[in-house]
Structure formats: structure tokens, C-alpha cells
Symmetry: C2
Subunit: 298 residues, 2 copies
């Protein structure tokens, strides 16, 4: 029995909440001003704020107070932002633009961009500590910190980035591609939902179902990304169309044909929605999110 909250309204409404909190955490940073500026530059460069909003949407779906999720939401966004700064570096993807704006190293130089990334990553763990002020028990905070390091570190996002790099120009199988995406983008997306659910006191069974849900959602997200790289509009996606092909990245359409990729996308979306039906959620926000990801144009 689920009440209706419009997802677009929810996202529009909560985005400023996340961003205000994100910027307010930056006010507490006692560091050389150019470093703080460089960190803020990338944090303020916009984006969908998908990961933090997933934390809030999950809490909302369980009928819990979303405020509780803001520290985790901000920590995740800082980690996501650091990963983009480092990914864009000349020795990595060598991107000059991100979301239509010059990348961090184009503005602050390579050394500062590396350090701004390092600083955001480290600071994100300090931000996690403010969960304590919201009454979350120390044990739960530590569990959330531990899962965050797994999702973001060598066995998660960083490992996925390495596999992605190693895979460039190579012949990959579907399982290699899925390994890359599960780790490079999937685990941090999945963690966002996990963290929301843990804060909402979800049971182990529910967490395990949500983990399957996240897996489908993450893969769907990435397939849609690959499709957009071919069919999207440069202006909306904020980077040139066809940049994956140019960077010799293996994509779903390349492996499965465009039709096969779209079928796979639908499969994951349907599976994700099926799982949601078994959960005691008080709103259909996550189901609407599935549709949004399937159809997003940026």
C-alpha cells in the first residue's frame, strides 16, 4: 500500500537541501584557500546529485526522516566528485570539460586537482562522523563507514576504474563489462540505497533485496549512459557525443548491438521493479526512479 510522491517534485525539492548541506560542510574546512576553492569548484559544478538523492529517497520510501541521511548523502557526493576530478586528469580520461564547465585541472592545474580529490575523499570520512550528532549509534556509523570504504575503494569504485582502464582497446566479454560497471559506478550507487535503508532500520532480508535491486538499477544506469553516448545530444549530456568510441571504450551497444542493449536495459528495469514489490515501502519513489533511469536524456 504505497502513497504517491512525484519523483520529479521530490528530486527538485530535495536537491537544494542536499546542496546547502554540502556547501555548509565546506565552510568548516580549515585549509589553504586555494584548496578549498578547488574542492568547492567541483562540488558546485552541478550534476544530478543522484547518489545523495537516492539516500533520501530510500529513507522517504521507508517512511523515515530524510534529515538523518544528509551526512552520508554529502559524504557520497564528495567521493563521487573526487572520482570525477581524478578521472578527468590528463593521465586518465584527459577531459577538458565536465557538465559543460572546464574540468578542475583546467582551472587549478593538475597538482591542485589531484590534491583537491585527495582532500574530498579524506574529508568525506570526517563528514560521516556527523551521523553521531543525529543520534545514530557508533556501531551503526562504523558499519556505514566500513561499507563506504568497500564501495569506494580498491574492491569497489577504484577497482572498477582500473578494470575500465585496463579494458580500453581490449576485447571484453559481457561479464568483463559488467565487472567494470558493477564496481566503477554500481557499488557507490548501491551504497547510497544501502545507507538509506540501514538508517531506516531495514532488516537483513530487506537489505539483501535492495542490494539486488541496486545491482539491476546500476547496470541499467550504465547501459543508458552508453546508449546516450551514441544517441544523446552533446548539450544535454555535457560532453561530446561518441566520446566512448573515441576513447576505445567497450560499450553495451558495441557488445550487444543497440537493440540488444535496449533489451538488456529493459530487463534490468523490470527485474528491479519486481524486487520493489516485495518491500514494505510507503511510496513508489524507487519505482519511478527506475523509469526515470530507463528514459533519462542526460
Amino acid at each position: 500500500m504505497s502513497t504517491h510522491t512525484n519523483l520529479q517534485t521530490f528530486l527538485q525539492d530535495r536537491k537544494p537541501l542536499v546542496e546547502d548541506k554540502l556547501y555548509s560542510y565546506m565552510e568548516n574546512v580549515d585549509a589553504p584557500s586555494v584548496l578549498v576553492e578547488s574542492m568547492k569548484y567541483s562540488l558546485k559544478a552541478g550534476g544530478k546529485r543522484l547518489r545523495p538523492l537516492l539516500v533520501l529517497a530510500t529513507l522517504h520510501s521507508f517512511g523515515k526522516n530524510e534529515e538523518l541521511g544528509l551526512p552520508v548523502a554529502c559524504a557520497i557526493e564528495m567521493i563521487h566528485t573526487y572520482s570525477l576530478i581524478h578521472d578527468d586528469l590528463p593521465s586518465m580520461d584527459d577531459d577538458d570539460f565536465r557538465r559543460g564547465k572546464p574540468t578542475n585541472h583546467k582551472v587549478y592545474g593538475e597538482a591542485m586537482a589531484i590534491l583537491a580529490g585527495d582532500a574530498l575523499l579524506t574529508y568525506s570520512f570526517e563528514v560521516m562522523e556527523s551521523l553521531l550528532e543525529k543520534g545514530v549509534t557508533p556501531s551503526k556509523v562504523l558499519m556505514l563507514v566500513k561499507e563506504l570504504t568497500k564501495a569506494a575503494g580498491p574492491s569497489g569504485m577504484v577497482g572498477g576504474q582500473v578494470a575500465d582502464m585496463e579494458g580500453e582497446g581490449a576485447q571484453l566479454l559481457l561479464e568483463d563489462l559488467e565487472y567494470i560497471h558493477r564496481n566503477k559506478t554500481g557499488k557507490l550507487l548501491g551504497y547510497s540505497i544501502y545507507a538509506g535503508a540501514v538508517l531506516a532500520d531495514a532488516s537483513d532480508d530487506q537489505l539483501s533485496m535492495l542490494s539486488e535491486f541496486s545491482d539491476h538499477l546500476g547496470l541499467a544506469f550504465q547501459i543508458r549512459d552508453d546508449i546516450l553516448d551514441i544517441e544523446g545530444e552533446a548539450e544535454k549530456i555535457g560532453k561530446p557525443v561518441g566520446s566512448d568510441t573515441q576513447n576505445e571504450k567497450v560499450t553495451y551497444p558495441a557488445l550487444l548491438t543497440m537493440e540488444g542493449a535496449k533489451e538488456k536495459l529493459n530487463h534490468h528495469i523490470e527485474e528491479a521493479k519486481k524486487l520493489l514489490k516485495s518491500l514494505p515501502l510507503e511510496s513508489d519513489l524507487l519505482a519511478q526512479l527506475c523509469d526515470l533511469i530507463a528514459k533519462r536524456d542526460h
Copy 2:
């Protein structure tokens, strides 16, 4: 009333303990093999293991079980190692050798070196969680994590690195130089002692005295480093003599003359030793450490 443990014997004896534990943590990392190799390469590149040994020496000085400090000791060494990998990058100090061996990016390339650093930093926070298995309370673990993020992040080590970079080729005052060193190297050294003392259940007064002690020790360490860069032997210090001058780094001898720098070094060592006398320590390890730092040749 302090018993005598010879510091050199202590360091030689405990170094393999720290290194074994450090490498054993790496066995648990589930990640692409080239990433794990790159992380291990720099972790195994040697070094004095000063920071982890400080954790153990502090616990020993309070008459406590040193084993308790191994997770923090390893986490700190991982963070120290990541900072060296990033510092050596072409866009930073552009060093080809570290401790007589090719730097990480010379072996694995720039992109992998950046990611190995990111992975070590993230993983260090996962390592901190194993304090729980040693019976440390969740609240204490969280306090230790929080102080680690402060020592290593923008308000500590990363901030110091930025200030150091910004200061290259500029006219610096003594207070600017001290800001750089307090943050770039001092805070992580100080944290090592702090963590050992917290695990040894030191009182707030004792922690505050030890913090002053660490401040003197950290500055002394850096002054000695600057002196070695001019008077040391390349073979022993593992890098070319005079590289600071070549990199236009402001040093203590440049600011204070060599004689002034040596006086300053002695001053900090004396102050540090004075503070130790007020502490209920069961061995004079930390006092011997002061002498070691004052006279070290690498």
C-alpha cells in the same frame, strides 16, 4: 621511574611485526591484480616505518599491549605511502626515485599511481575498523577515525602539501614554513603518538602534553630533514643531495642559516624531552626517539 628498553632494538624488533601486518592486510584486498601490485610495490618499498613504530612505542611507553595499535599503525603507513605516491607524480614533485627505487608512476604509469594512492587512502579507513576486533569500543574507533581524517585531510597533510606547493619560489616567513611542516608532516606524526596514547587510555591532560611533545618532535624531524638535504649523503637519504634547493623549496637553513637551523633543532628536542618528564611513562623510548631524530642520517 622508567625502565630501559633500547630504542634501536625496539625499532628493529617491531619493524617486521608492522610490515607483516601491513602485507597481511593487503591479502584481503579483492581488486584487479595490477592495482594490488601497484599498492604493494610502494608499501614494500621500505622506509623507516617511523609513524607505525611511534604508535607502538607510545603504547609500550604506557606499559600497554602494542598489538592493540597494529591496525592504526598500518592505516597510518598506508596514508603516508599514498601521500608519497601522489607527491612524486610528474605534476607534483616529479621524482623518479624514492628510497633508491623507481617511483610508483615510473613503474606503473601515472594513472595507476594516482589510483593506487586513492585506493590506499580509502582502504586505510577500512583497516581502522579492525580495531573493533581487538575490543576497542565503537566510540573510541570513531574518535580515532575522526582525528585521522583531520590529520590527513585538507586541514592537515593535504593542506600542508598545498601550502608547500604554493610556497615554492615565494618569500616565506618562519611562521609560513612552520605552517607547512606542522601540516604536511607534523600532524600525521603527531596523530601516531595520539592514537597510541588514546589506545593506552591516556587522560586528556596527558593527551594535551603529548600533543605539544609531538609538535616539537615533528618540527625537529623536518629541520633535520632540511639539514640532511644539504649535509647528507645521497645514498643514505635515497635522493639527490640539494634537491630542495633545486625545487626552490624554502628550508630552515635558508631562512635561519645552517647554524640557526641546528639551534632550532636542539631547542625543539630539549622542549620535547622536558614534556616527557611530566608523563607517567614506563620506558624512556620516546626520549631516545628525540635523540635519534636529532642525529639521524637518513
